[in-house]
């Protein structure tokens, strides 16, 4: 097998190994980075929800307290305010996969009722009250979604003004929501979970796209390198060797008038050429001495 072929085969194997390793490492790093970015987004969303709740209870509710005697205003309820805030956000087409819900086992507002997977999250908090947070992934119709959950625990006795007994609840509230749900909550009870859902598929797809682009770039670079190495091999090694071989053949067949090998420069091929030329001159002299 020719040197060039051996060389190129070896080079190709090397390139494939490097590409494969690069793909695997880059994909792991970028996908891990994408997941971290998604989780960071989820945390920012959770903190936004907590900020809206705090603003509502400290500033909005006192302003509207007088009106609550005449009409129940859900805008004064922190969980309603946080949920509505995110509903407005998710109305944009590019944010429709983002969600916030205060999933509750026994809610006053039916839209807050926990569905199956949310019930599992809430029960996990109820069984392990020491857990402050849960992060997980789940499949949705829009692809993989990351969820970040924090427990909803009744720490403020003021919450029980509306959620302890029907008799204690404001008349205006029961007129709006009825008396079937949202009562019987106990102090320190974990009644639900704040759950933020953030789509992961877009971030992962973006990471995979970057990996693909890196691979294409590497492949392109390898191709250029491949061509350059082959050109250099041919020019610097293979062609001079071939010429040397041709001259050696001629001398071996008695054609002493064959031109000398042009040995210019200081590289190994030039040194070989000079050595060959010396050997050839010595051989010619030896033959001439024998003929005398």
């Amino acid at each position: 097998m020719k040197i060039a072929l051996k060389f190129n085969a070896l080079l190709l194997v090397l390139f494939v190994l490097v590409l494969g390793t690069t793909y695997w490492i880059a994909r792991e790093l970028l996908e891990s980075n994408a997941r971290a970015g998604v989780e960071e987004n989820a945390r920012i969303m959770m903190r936004s929800a907590l900020a809206v709740r705090s603003y509502t209870s400290s500033q909005i509710e006192p302003l509207l307290a007088g009106q609550m005697h005449y009409k129940f205003l859900p805008q004064t309820v922190p969980s309603y305010a946080a949920t509505e805030y995110f509903h407005s956000l998710a109305a944009s087409a590019d944010l429709r996969d983002y969600a916030y819900k205060e999933a509750t086992l026994n809610p006053t507002n039916p839209r807050d009722r926990a569905v199956e997977w949310e019930i599992d999250v809430v029960n996990r908090f109820r069984q392990h009250p020491e857990l402050g947070e849960l992060v997980g992934e789940r499949d949705t119709e829009f692809g993989k979604s990351l969820y970040l959950a924090q427990p909803l625990q009744i720490k403020d006795p003021a919450c029980l003004a509306c959620h302890s007994t029907i008799a204690a609840a404001p008349q205006t509230m029961t007129e709006m929501y009825g008396t079937a749900n949202g009562f019987g909550w106990q102090p320190q009870e974990i009644v639900g979970a704040q759950i933020v859902s953030v789509p992961q598929s877009v971030a992962i797809q973006r990471a995979d796209a970057i990996v693909t682009r890196i691979l294409y770039l590497l492949a392109g670079l390898f191709l250029v390198l491949f061509i350059a190495l082959n050109v250099m091999l041919t020019l610097l090694v293979l062609r001079p060797m071939k010429k040397l071989g041709t001259i050696a053949d001629q001398v071996s067949l008695g054609r002493m008038d064959a031109p000398e090998f042009p040995a210019h420069g200081r590289d190994e091929m030039a040194a070989l050429g000079r050595s060959f030329n010396r050997m050839r001159r010595s051989l010619v002299e030896a033959i001439e001495m024998l003929e005398k």
Partner: protein, 296 residues
Amino acid sequence: MIHRLTARARGLTAAVFAGALALGVVPAIAASPAASAIVSVAEGPPFRVIRDAGVYAASRGIILSPGDIVESQPASFLVLEIKGAGTAALVGIGPATRAYWMPGRDSITLALLEGWIKVDTGPTSAGPEVRALARRLGAASSGGVYVLHAGADGDEVFHESGTMTLYTLKPDGTATAGASKPSEFASRAGTSGALQTRLGPAAAFVAGLPAAFRDPLPAGLSAKLRGGAEPRPVRQVSYDDLAQWLAAPRDWRRGFIERFEVRLEDPLFFRAMDQHMSAHPEWYRILHRSPAASAP
């Protein structure tokens, strides 16, 4: 003869007084030292005050005193800051409301002929007691908030917060007191309908409630007023101004004869009074002092 002379003298005095009032020579009657109210909010068109026998156009900043009748326009909203015993109570007067600050009572008592009143006497019982009475229902509080509505067909009271006494009124204006608890809503329809109570205000009541009454009445705004404004005299009261007041429960009409008798000098007023005597029979002896006149 003496009666005629006395009536003529009173009429003359009243004419001089009215003239002086119109000229601005006689100042507005000062507020009673016992209680006074300053109009700290007056939104909408100017409201009017009937003071003694005159009609005045009033605005934000005027001082009201017992005896004044306040009548607001549609789309009006007034807030009175009543000072007494060192603390202030707030009284909101809704649109198209006619209220009379009855003098000579043991507490601040407002008679509501029609419209809406909201009373806020503060969160504690340190404030002055403010009583508001309509024809069928009334309320009083010295540490609470309530809304009274006097409608054509019935009266309603909503006990918003704090403490409040609920009154059931008889046709002669006397009242029976009863207990009430926060968020309780009471209503009474017709001339002698039964008292109905429930927890939370009725939907129709909430629908008709002036928007400004849904929020706490604004307090402390009188501090921003630079000086007491004076109501502008418009004219003397006519019978039309007083017709419904003269037909109000008898207890509300105490002192009306002494107050409005001077207007009998106006032939139109006299004639109207005579024509509607059945609504205010106590005026008969004033209009027909001659023993030869026949009883109605």
